[in-house]
């Protein structure tokens, strides 16, 4: 495997059998994707395009019908860590124990795991909240803990499944900027799933646009915006240019994105 790549996916295919109608539904149609080490790639598409399914196949939570996934392992052996859509923190664990959980799963003794979790809690901006329980945190803070937990295992790749989808618009923008800051500090490869065009462009080096039924790649767009990116980059002409390009792509493929489209 070329060491320049953190993820190589070949012919990943996912088909569900509907028992009632005895027909099969193709969730992902033979998908190829290469992600370079350190790259930030977004999978963008409407719900039902299989982007989350693809992420779960990469993570091993789901088995695909066909295809092959190759992941580069980080120094400590862990290849990937998932940042879940609903933060999925354990309500019975403190923030510290939640963040340390991935390490405990990897066999690190609890005390040591806690020590190693501490700097990541600080990195994501939760210093002083280590002893709180999830119900005491806001949605944005829960997602910070969610991110810290994935960072703690120090994997090569972060798989992020629409982590900001349930946040309000302002918190989401703050978290996007925060994610870029953390990504820059942690130097990880990120595969980020979202259905929001501006979020994908703002965050990514590449935006992989997908269509639904069957889920497949429509385009792979390189985003040439200088980094570090402040939030006001969203108002630049190049940015809106990318947004228009992706919007057209999605609408011409019969995908309705939020606003109704003209039938032609």
């Amino acid at each position: 495997m070329d060491t320049g790549f953190a993820l190589i996916a070949r012919g990943v295919h996912m088909e569900y059998r509907d028992r009632k109608s005895d027909t099969s539904l193709v969730a992902i149609e033979s998908m190829d994707l290469d992600v370079r080490a350190g790259e930030f790639v977004s999978l963008l598409g409407p719900s039902g395009c299989g982007k989350s399914t693809f992420l779960k196949i990469v993570n091993g939570l789901l088995k695909g019908t066909a295809g092959e996934i190759r992941l580069r392992a980080a120094g400590n052996g862990r290849e990937d860590a998932m940042v879940f859509q609903d933060a999925a923190l354990f309500p019975w664990y403190s923030v510290l124990d939640n963040v340390a959980y991935g390490l405990v799963c990897a066999g690190v003794p609890r005390k040591q795991a806690r020590e190693r979790a501490m700097p990541l809690i600080e990195l994501v901006g939760l210093a002083g909240f280590a002893d709180r329980y999830p119900y005491q945190l806001s949605g944005g803070m829960q997602q910070r803990a969610n991110l810290a937990r994935a960072l703690a295992v120090d994997s090569e790749i972060l798989l992020m499944d629409e982590p900001f989808a349930s946040l309000d618009a302002q918190t989401r923008e703050v978290m996007q900027a925060e994610l870029l800051r953390i990504w820059n500090a942690a130097k990880k490869t990120v595969v980020f799933v979202t259905h929001q065009i501006d979020e994908a462009i703002y965050l990514s080096d590449r935006v992989v646009v997908m269509s639904a039924r069957p889920g497949r790649i429509l385009a792979d767009i390189r985003i040439d915006l200088p980094r570090p990116r402040a939030l006001d980059v969203k108002r630049r002409a190049e940015f809106t240019g990318y947004a228009d390009q992706i919007w057209k792509l999605l609408t011409t493929h019969g995908v309705s994105v939020a606003a109704p489209t003209d039938a032609t």
């Binding site: 993570n59 860590a81 879940f84 354990f90 959980y101 405990v104 799963c105 119900y135």
Partner: protein, 276 residues
Amino acid sequence: MAATATRSTGLGDPGRLGPVQRFRRANERLLYGTLGFVLVIVLWELAADLGLYRRSLLSSPSFIWNAAARDFGSGTIWPHLASSGAEYGLGFAAALALGIPLGLLIGMFRRVDHVVSLLLFGIYSTPKAAIAPLIILVAGIGLESKAIFVFLLAFFSVIVSTMAGVHAVAERHRDLARSFGASRWLEFRSVVLPTTVPFLLTGIRIASGRALVGVVVAEELAANQGIGYYIEFYGTFLDTSRVMLGVVILGLFGITSGELVRRLEKRFEVWRPEIH
């Protein structure tokens, strides 16, 4: 001329409470609960004094108190309490010792669960009093038959609630454990057990009440000792004060055990906002 209203919105600084106020805050439930008891006792006594009912039928707080002073003073009530306590303790402990591990185990394996759960629920919903004569026939009228009866009443509450707890495990929490590569044992400790504990404690609270019913029913059917026997015995002599004394003792025991489980619940569930 426009009217203006000024509203005070401050509750005061909660940090600066005096010791009396702090005690009151911490034990509010207990204080008001006691007040409820005192109120009922006073009203009851008053009703008896005013002749609103016949004291020979329902006794009265002062008469019950006298009965208690007599039987605790002479010590004649202790053997009854001791044998009821033994029946309760033995049966309830066995119910916990078998119900919790079996419930967890059955809940973890889907097919075993399917085989057992309907059966268990069937037995759980059947009134156990129906089989009490059978148990007495098999195990006699001593400690064994009572303990078995208590066990039967408590066991199914414990096992059914434990299984319900295991079923309540959230798929996203399971996914999370698996995504990070948790072992089955770690998944059990970090996901299944914490989810189950609240259900289990509720089950224990219900079971402790049912176990008490078991003691009384078994003893009233056939026994020569125990608090149920005490109630039954003095009932036939129309000694209502002693009957009521037995009932009051049972009630106090029920309150105490319920309160104990509640404390346990609080300790185990600091993460559940609604308990605080």
